[in-house]
Symmetry: C2
Subunit: 154 residues, 2 copies
DNA sequence: AGAATCCATTAATCTACATTAAGAAATGAG
DNA sequence: CTCATTTCTTAATGTAGATTAATGGATTCT
């Protein structure tokens, strides 16, 4: 846990890095964002005074967010040595990362991509709920989901 | 903390309730969802075996999610007596609730509504970042944000 | 079993928002 | 101060996905 000073525009984290840190803003303003295939930015979160940004993934999983400074900032950099806090916190982290992924998908992925991601992530749930509920989860109309699947297998 | 058995279709929680609980699924399948003004359902999350659902709000804040059972289920019902766990967990809960709200907005609100919500929630950040970044956060094109604001004040 | 409800699929039409392009305004660097 | 870059606005056109509606097949209820 150390304190750093960053200038405007400085990049603190890039997608794909391992052992990503958590950043707690003392002063200034950070932002985390993703880049889609077309190179378009999707801002995931702004973090100003007393707020925290960072992927919430285990140390051995590559992170998905870029983090940079929108203003000159003072920041605490926290290691994620989760072990000691164990179970409880681990569960929170898992939920945070699921929600994060969900937001990223809603913002940057098409209906088809969202469905394909869902298929991979929750293969069992697909069998257990009606399609219209999957559509509702994905944020698309049931008719659209139907169309997607048709085009997919033809 | 008690264990309950619920039948398919049973409603465990309605939007607006205070002192909402957290539900941990032992067997079966739950779902949480919102209803928009048009009465349309937007599923926030499926929770199957060993997963957890629930708003992550303080006891005195009305919850935003409905929760019901998609299958006959066994569930642990947990009180949210957060006090003892203090700071750390409190911060997680806050982050979870922000992400939850974000997903709900992305799924059920129009561009204008998302902007108005952002205005209210982060009045200070609006002053500090370019509009195109706010658009990127809201998941809309900068041109659309520009149009929205024009129509708004005319 | 028969009735009623729910669900998936298709097709036609509609709409919110994206994209593109171009000029005006603001910001910043030297 | 001035030129360059970034940002904002406006308008024209395009498109992914919503909406509506109709049909047939499954489920569930009595």
């Amino acid at each position: 846990m150390k304190r750093i000073h960053v200038k405007k525009g400085e990049i603190l984290q890039r997608r794909g890095e391992l052992d990503s840190k958590v950043y707690h803003v003392v002063s200034g303003l950070l932002r985390s964002y993703t880049l889609d295939e077309k190179g378009k930015e999707h801002i995931f979160m702004f973090a100003h005074e007393n707020w925290t940004v960072g992927d919430n993934l285990p140390k051995d999983v590559p992170c998905e967010l870029y983090i940079d400074a929108l203003e000159e900032s003072d920041v605490w950099v926290l290691q994620k040595d989760i072990k000691r806090e164990a179970q409880n916190v681990g569960a929170f982290l898992k939920r945070l990362s699921v929600l994060q992924k969900r937001i990223i998908m809603l913002m940057s992925a098409s209906a088809i991509e969202r469905f394909e991601h869902f298929e991979k992530t929750y293969p069992d749930i697909i069998q257990r709920v009606p399609q219209k509920m999957i559509a509702s989860y994905l944020g698309i109309a049931p008719e659209t989901l139907s169309k997607i699947k048709r085009e997919r297998y033809k």
